[in-house]
Every structure is written in structure tokens, then in C-alpha cells.
């Protein structure tokens, strides 16, 4: 197996190279790009990125494991990332979590058997004024209640 950026991305990479003083700075943008292209980041993608960034593969691999949003494994189609930090906790995110677990019958860290949903709890999403909040893939859902979350999930099924 090998990984190649698609033509669209290759064009973007050329543009990105002109925006930074050194090509090593592209590691985060390229990891994002690979994750969008494949849904996760494979070792082959890491190898390709290392080539473009002119750096040993380890440099990219260790970066990919540092940031919590990079997925080195495939996830469900919908990645539920419920914020668990203090403001959300004070505003009853635990009830929302229970509601999700009941609705999908999975625990935190698990995916539904149909591969549709993966449930994670994440640290502060920076949306404390509208807590509880979750990020579904890249979209914020704010002011959640145990009832509204079920409606959101039902609509996705």
C-alpha cells in the first residue's frame, strides 16, 4: 500500500510551501490534509509527508501522536466528541452522556457496530458559554440537553 496526495492537494501543497520559511512547518497542514483525504492518518501517509517535509519519518510520526485530533485509526462516520471539562460538567454534561450511551448503546471510546458513530469525551472545546457542547466531526452542537442530543443523533441515523 502506498499513499499519494490527490492532485487538488498537491496543488495546495505547492502553495503552502510558499507561505512558510521552511518546509518542515508543513507537517500539521499536511497531516490534516491526509486525514481529510483518507478519514485517518496511515503510516504510508506519514511516510509521504516526511518526504515532502524533508525530515525523518519519526519526526512526523511523533507529531501525529502528540495532537489529540489526529486519528491514526479509522473512526465511525460520525465522531461524537462530547466536552467533559468543568463548565460542561457543571451544566450536566453527564446526563447528556448517559443519553448518548442509551441511544447508541456504546461506551466512551467505542464505535457502533454499523460503523456510524464513535463516542469520545474530549477536553474543553472552548464553548463554555453554551455548555454542554459536543463537536460532531467538525460542527459544534451547543446548549445540549438529554432530549436534544437524541434528536440530533436520530436525524443522523
Amino acid at each position: 500500500m502506498s499513499f499519494n496526495f490527490n492532485d487538488d492537494n498537491l496543488e495546495k501543497i505547492e502553495l503552502l510551501k510558499s507561505k512558510y520559511p521552511k518546509v518542515q512547518a508543513l507537517s500539521l497542514p499536511l497531516l490534516w490534509m491526509a486525514q481529510y483525504q483518507d478519514g485517518f492518518i496511515s503510516l504510508e501517509a506519514i511516510q509521504e509527508i516526511a518526504k515532502i517535509c524533508e525530515t525523518p519519518m519519526m519526526e512526523i510520526y511523533k507529531v501525529s501522536t502528540f495532537y489529540s485530533m489526529f486519528n491514526l485509526q479509522k473512526l465511525g462516520k460520525y465522531h461524537i466528541q462530547l466536552c467533559k471539562t468543568l463548565s460542561c460538567k457543571l451544566c450536566n454534561k453527564d446526563d447528556v452522556l448517559k443519553s448518548i450511551q442509551n441511544e447508541l448503546n456504546i461506551q466512551v471510546g467505542e464505535s457502533t457496530s454499523d460503523g456510524l458513530f464513535t463516542l469520545s469525551q474530549v477536553e474543553c472545546l472552548g464553548s463554555c458559554g453554551t455548555s454542554p457542547v459536543m463537536q460532531l466531526n467538525e460542527t459544534y452542537y451547543e446548549n445540549l440537553t438529554p432530549i436534544s442530543i437524541v434528536e440530533i443523533l436520530k436525524a443522523l441515523k
Binding site: 519519526m58 519526526e59 510520526y61 501522536t65
Partner: protein, 460 residues
């Protein structure tokens, strides 16, 4: 750079202005604990162990990030510092398995040393609460990683990133899940990889070759010079004679020499001890029959007296003292002294760091004695006397004598000689530095000088 005076624990020391405080402490043997700092790798500041108190600073400072200035006043053992060190050491140890009884590093482990020096507290954490991690990971190049014992000083990572620039190792993950790793499916694989074992201050990186072989406190370390190539890296030969057994080499380690090899050696040199004790010639043979030392000398003498055209081959690994004796000897008997050096040359071995293209330790002496290094014979040789030169079999002669460290000689008369680890002498490396190797292992076998001196007595 000008010299300044600093005060450490109420004593005055001179130091170069703006030099690193930790280097000064190490130079003067002032006890300071550290894991991440290493003279060859520089400061990183991650272990936070080398805390000292500096007059005028509110908080303790790390010595590896403190630059010396005139009049600086430093306390390394105040109550405040002792307590800080103790508490940071406790944090280093909270997730450590404390499996010293089965750890190869025991006896040369900085965690153990510092615990005895600065720790000595009662453990506050249950074994079951520790963060457990993988314990036996083969990284490649005979290096085994135990992640539970690792203190994440990143010396190994900095070695592969900054020194070998091969970049195999890195810290992955975050927080207390951070650990040393290779890229999945990839190996630690470079000609200097095993240096990470010496660099590791704890038992996280150990050598597969040395694992469970010997407790370090039984080992004797003898300073010597690696004979793997003409760089002349300074080494320690670590050996031990167990009861009723032969004295045995268990490992070779680099010995610091700023002018030659710094703190490192290559893996080829490191593992060359195996060849020093395998397949060794121990006996004196005449046409495959074991003979006595006296008979051997008589036989050698008679061969010399009966031959006209004598060629002496000399190995470019022998000590200067041997080469001098052989040179004298060859003049005396009117022999031609040669050392074809082509067989040592291997440009696939050499690199731009420690490994040279010539795999012999004393090439410079061959040059100094102006010994013929291009010899190829078209004349009939009556007697060929070889002093352990590897190309012996390439030459034909009516009669042959071989002084040999290893078995397998085809000569009529075979005389066992010691390997370099078994007697003392000097070699000259390719930078023209003369270096001394001490005798590490005791053997009954006579040295070349002894043979030649005794031979002269027989010849009289």
C-alpha cells in the same frame, strides 16, 4: 573568553565566563544529579534534577541552563536543594517498576545512585497504581527497550536525531503516556546504535548481548584501544573471571577521549570482543602435532638457518613494541619485512565519523617503519614467517611459520600468540596519536617479544 571566579558551597573555583555550570560541577566532582544533560548531547532541561541554589535567584535553577558569571555564588547541597531534588526524584520514580533485582542496569543506574544520594524516602505509591508499560521491546541493533524504566531524558532520541542524524527514535504520545519509540514496523538501525545503551542513565535501554550475562559490579574495566579500525577509539574492556572459569570479556564500552572518539564507539568495535575469544589458537603445533615452547623455538631457528630467501609478514594490528621487535629481528636474519595493506582497506566500512576505511589499529606504525605495504612476490620464497597478517594464505613458500591468534593456520609451524586484549602495548591511530592499551585478560601464551627474545637465546 575570560576567566571568572565563582563560589560553590563556600569554595572558590575558576571557570570560563559563560560556560555551563553543570560542566564545572562535573569537572570538580561536585555531586549533582542529572539524567538529561550529557556533555556530547548538550542540555535539554527536561529532567529538572540538577537544581542548584544561586544567590539572588528566588527559585532553584537547573545547572545545565546556568551560565557562569563572575562572583556567582552557588549552593549545591543546601537543605532547600536537597529537598527539591528528593521530591523531583520521587516523581521520577513513581511510575518506575523498581525491578532492580532483575535489571541489567543495576549497579550503574543513575536512579539507584541518586536514590542513595538524594532520595531515601519511603515509597508512597502502590505498585498497582503505577502507569504500566511495555517491558521488552526489541528496537533493533541488539537494543532492548523497557518503557517502564524509562525517565524520558531523551538522550537516546537526541543521539539519533543530532549525532547519527538517522532519526529512528522519538518520543511519542503526551503527558505520562509519552514514551520512546521507533516508527511502527521500523527498527533502530545505524552503525552506532548501541551507544544509546551507554547513554541511557537507567535500565530502559539495555544490550541484548549483555542482558543477564553478568552483574556489573563483578566486572573489571580495563582501558584499551579498539582494534576494529585505524581510528583507535578508546574503550573499556569489561571482563570477569568467575570461579573455576577462564577470564572472559563480557562487553566493550567507549571510554571518553575528546581528541579521538568523544563518548562513542561504533557497534562493529563494540561487538569485536566476541572474535577475541572465539576459535583461538592456544597450542604450538609442528605439522599439526603439539610441541613444547622450547621445541618450537628450536624448530623455528632451524627453519631460519636453513633458508635463504625469507619474507616476514607483519600484521598492522600489532603493538608498536611488537613491530619494533619484528623489525629488529628481520634485519638480524636478513629477511624482507612486508605488510600488504590492501586487505585492510574497505571503503564500505568507513564513514565521516568514527569508522575509517582501514580495518587495522596500527597502520601508522607500518608507515613509520617504512614497511613495504604493496608487496607482491614473484620470486620464490624459501621461508615465510607470518606475524598474524590476514593475507598469509595468498603467498606460497617452500616453508612456512605462523604466529597466530586464531586457529586455522596452514603453516607447518604454528605458534600461538595473545590477542591485543591479553597483553599491553601502544598503537598509533590515523591522526598520529600514540595510545596505550592495558592488558585485560591473563593468558599463558607467550607474546611476540617473548618469542623473539627467547629465540635469540636459542640461536646463540
Amino acid at each position: 573568553m575570560s576567566l571568572v571566579t565563582v563560589n560553590i558551597d563556600d569554595k572558590s573555583y575558576e571557570a570560563k565566563e559563560n560556560s555551563l555550570l553543570i560542566d564545572l560541577l562535573i569537572l570538580h566532582d561536585i555531586k549533582v544529579p542529572y539524567f538529561c544533560y550529557h556533555e556530547s548531547l548538550g542540555a535539554d532541561g527536561n529532567c529538572r534534577m540538577c537544581m542548584v541554589e544561586i544567590e539572588g535567584k528566588k527559585r532553584p535553577q537547573i545547572a545545565c541552563d546556568t551560565f557562569v558569571s563572575d562572583g556567582m555564588s552557588i549552593q549545591t547541597a543546601s537543605e532547600k536543594i536537597s529537598s527539591v531534588r528528593k521530591r523531583i526524584l520521587e516523581l521520577e520514580l513513581i511510575n518506575h517498576p523498581v525491578d532492580c533485582p532483575i535489571c541489567d542496569q543495576a549497579g550503574e543506574c543513575k536512579l539507584q545512585d541518586y536514590y542513595m544520594d538524594f532520595g531515601l524516602y519511603d515509597s508512597n505509591i502502590d505498585m498497582k497504581e503505577k502507569v504500566h508499560n511495555k517491558k521488552h521491546i526489541a528496537l533493533g541493533s541488539s537494543v532492548i527497550l523497557d518503557r517502564e524504566r524509562c525517565v524520558l531524558c531523551t538522550r537516546c532520541v537526541r543521539f539519533t536525531s543530532n549525532i547519527t542524524k538517522s532519526g529512528e527514535l522519538g518520543v511519542i504520545n503526551r503527558g505520562d503516556k509519552a514514551c520512546i519509540s521507533t516508527v511502527p514496523g521500523m527498527k533502530l538501525d545505524n552503525p552506532y546504535a548501541m551507544n544509546v545503551v551507554d547513554l541511557c542513565p537507567v535500565g530502559a535501554l539495555t544490550s541484548k548481548e549483555f542482558r543477564f550475562a553478568q552483574r556489573v559490579w563483578f566486572l573489571k574495566s580495563t582501558p584499551s584501544i579498539c582494534h576494529g579500525c585505524s581510528t583507535g577509539c578508546n574503550i573499556f574492556i569489561d571482563h570477569n573471571q568467575e570461579k573455576y572459569k577462564e577470564d572472559k570479556i563480557y562487553r566493550i564500552r567507549p571510554r571518553k577521549n575528546r581528541e579521538v572518539n568523544g563518548d562513542f564507539i561504533c557497534d562493529y568495535g563494540r561487538l569485536s570482543y566476541k572474535n577475541l575469544q572465539e576459535n583461538r589458537q592456544q597450542e604450538l603445533l609442528n605439522k599439526s602435532n603439539v610441541i613444547s615452547y622450547e621445541d618450537a623455538l628450536l624448530e623455528l631457528n632451524s627453519k631460519i638457518s636453513g633458508s635463504k630467501n625469507i619474507v616476514i609478514l607483519v600484521d598492522a594490528n600489532l603493538y608498536n613494541e611488537d613491530i619494533a621487535a619484528i623489525s629488529n629481528f628481520s634485519q638480524k636474519i636478513g629477511a624482507k619485512l612486508v605488510c600488504p595493506t590492501e586487505c585492510y582497506f574497505d571503503d564500505s566500512f568507513g564513514d565521516d565519523w568514527l569508522k575509517s576505511d582501514y580495518k587495522c589499529a596500527n597502520l601508522q606504525a607500518i608507515k613509520n617503519y617504512k614497511i613495504d605495504s604493496l608487496f607482491s612476490s614473484d620470486q620464490q620464497i624459501d621461508l615465510l614467517i607470518n606475524f598474524n597478517h590476514p593475507s598469509f594464505s595468498k603467498f606460497s613458500s617452500k616453508q612456512s611459520v605462523e604466529f597466530s591468534t586464531h586457529k586455522g593456520s596452514s603453516a607447518e609451524l604454528v605458534l600461538a600468540i595473545p590477542a591485543y586484549s591479553e597483553y599491553s602495548g601502544t598503537t598509533i591511530n590515523d591522526a598520529n596519536i600514540e595510545q596505550y592499551s592495558q592488558k585485560a585478560i591473563t593468558t599463558d601464551v607467550a607474546t611476540i617479544s617473548e618469542y623473539l627474545s627467547d629465540l635469540s637465546k636459542v640461536a646463540l
